[in-house]
């Protein structure tokens, strides 16, 4: 045994060392593409989206590539797009929010009823609705973060509660589009149309884009965003490393509630009327989760990009409109969308694999 050998002395004096360097292994366009895929994971769903557009374009010809059809897709995904952005935030924290759709519907009902039942001006009713959404988010967040209940259960319960409150409070009454138009047009303001190079867009679409891009920036380039990822990745580790888990979760859930409120406002713009029985209340959550997962965000938290979720929403929108335009009947459309969703994620996996 040579334990008296002062082997550590060899490393006691510091030498100048360079960082290990290897020859770049792949070059040219293909190499750049690989590199880009690695640094920007949202590119993969984007590729799938473009592929879907091309396929339907070829199948349907000019009818599909008309500004009309393409902007229709944007309009149809407005609400799911906003909800998917909210859902993505929660899923990044390793949670899940089943109440997003219901909260959106309740907020739209509140905005409408507060205006029409109590005569509050619409410009005040909208902030009240948004505040209500934020408050519901805060309750969810508190239960998840303080009482440490599983997000699935908290938001499942909240979903039922919010939907029931929504029906009970509205007494199941719809506020008609015509009435809103004449008495409180501000509620519908996000439905305002404008043309941009032949494409007809609404303010709701612009709001959706703003929400998605704003969140993408905040998640990538602010400390808050890093904390959201850290909490979702490994909450124990994040807390030991100095992240305030409670504060981060509360901010996320409250922001999500607020965004759901915005979605409710977008709904009024899009449908004109205010109805408690909007389908979004029932399936908005699954639609949003689907978009998020197709967009490549892990349900286990901490991995993925919010832009991916947005592309995920668009992918589903393209499939739905494309299939309807090609004349598949509703039941077949339903079936084919199932197939296409699986196919989209398979292609996604495949791209990731060959570009490993």
């Amino acid at each position: 045994m040579a334990s008296a050998d002062p082997f550590e002395d060899v490393v006691k004096s510091r030498r100048e060392e360079g960082f290990a360097e290897f020859e770049p292994t792949r070059k040219g366009l293909w190499g750049r593409f690989h590199e880009a895929l690695h640094t920007t994971p949202a590119l993969v769903p984007l590729i799938v989206l473009l592929a879907a557009l091309v396929v339907f374009g070829v199948l349907l010809g000019g009818k599909f590539f008309s500004p009309f059809a393409l902007t229709l897709i944007l309009q149809q995904v407005q609400i799911v797009g906003v909800l998917a952005a909210a859902q993505a935030l929660i899923i990044l924290t390793a949670g899940i929010d089943l109440s997003v759709g219901a909260v959106a519907v309740l907020c739209s009902v509140l905005m409408g009823q507060i205006t029409f039942r109590y005569g509050v001006p619409a410009v005040a009713a909208v902030p009240i609705g948004l505040a209500a959404g934020t408050a519901i988010g805060a309750v969810n967040g508190w239960l998840v973060s303080r009482i440490k209940l599983p997000p699935f259960i908290v938001t499942l319960g909240m979903w039922q509660i919010v939907l029931a409150v929504n029906y009970l409070y509205s007494r199941n009454e719809t506020i008609r589009a015509r009435d809103i138009e004449t008495q409180a047009p501000f509620l519908q303001v996000l439905g305002t149309k404008f043309t941009l190079g032949g494409a007809v867009l609404t303010l709701g679409v612009v709001l959706m884009l703003a929400v998605v891009l704003g969140l993408a920036y905040a998640l990538r380039s602010t400390a808050w965003g890093r904390h959201v990822y850290a909490v979702g990745d490994d909450p124990e580790a994040a807390q030991l490393a100095g992240v305030d888990r409670h504060k981060t979760l509360m901010s996320v859930y409250m922001l999500v509630g607020f965004i759901c409120g915005l979605a409710g406002w977008v709904m009024i713009g899009r449908y004109g009327s205010v109805s408690p029985s909007a389908t979004t209340g029932v399936i908005g959550n699954i639609q949003a989760i689907t978009a998020v997962v197709i967009g490549g965000i892990s349900l286990f938290g901490g991995r993925g990009s919010i832009l991916g979720a947005f592309f995920g929403a668009l992918i589903v929108g393209v499939f739905e409109l494309g299939l309807r335009m090609s004349g598949a009947d509703p039941q077949w459309t339903y079936l084919l969308i199932g197939v296409l969703i699986i196919a989209a994620v398979t292609i996604d996996q495949w791209i990731r694999k060959v570009t490993q």
Binding site: N172, R176, R270, G272, R324, D329, P330
Partner: protein, 316 residues
Amino acid sequence: AETSACLITKTDTNPFFVKMREGAEAKARELGLTLNSYAGKVDGDNETQVAAVETCIANGAKGILITPSSTSAIVPSIEAARAAGMLVIALDTPLDPIDAADMTFATDNYHAGVLIGEWAKGKLGDKAKEAKIAFLDLDVSQPTVGVLRDQGFMEGFGIDIGDPNQWGDESDPRIVGHDVTQGNEEGGRKAMENLLAKDPMINVVYTINEPAAAGAYEALKSMGREKDVLIVSVDGGCPGVQNVADGVIGATSQQYPLLMASKGIEAIAAYAKDGTKPAATEGKAFFDTGVSLVTDQPVEGVSSISVARGQEMCWG
């Protein structure tokens, strides 16, 4: 002990059933009955209705009013309830077989469809031959009401309906397509957009109910086509009739849920008192609470009532 009754509706989110419940509650209060209400979770929810019937048996109720989600699948549970000595009345939708219930107080959904179909055909006149029709239905699971209204419209309009238990198997070239709406504004708008993307020249729109019609109207309006398309619908709720007045909907078939419900409660009260069971309308296997076409643009050969009259009779 006090007499208790059950009301089981398909869902309780559709205003139609909300009104039905209000009617039943008002009548029950008047007659001193305890009323427990139940509803399915979604359209076509048979399971929850079965559980509700079982609960009524456990609670020892005297009678059940039910709008069956699935007209045949619920039958064994209904038989069990009747075996337990309860009076079972089907509201709005008959059971299959119809005599599985003690009595049925219903509108004829098929007939409601026929009325709007005939009206649309008459309104278009000769142009009916090259009409382009969109069908905005309820759900891909094709619940019975949706099928009856849809197929009734086709018959009224003069389309070969193929299998009467199913929509979507027809081959008439005038049909642009079917899409589903969940019976609300949201679904109505999206379905309309989808069908317009398929064929922008649509000029007749059948809708399962008035909220779907309102949604379809929004889609048409955003493309500037609201003036040259005929929308027809079924239900006759007050906002719906108002929409007829505003020109959003051309004509709608009005039904009377409050009437059905209050009749039903009266029947249960009578049965609880001395065991009498209600009788059917002359010549029919059920008690018909009637359906009327509401429009201000009457068409010859199709009986209709005015919008003003419709507003008086609307539910709520």
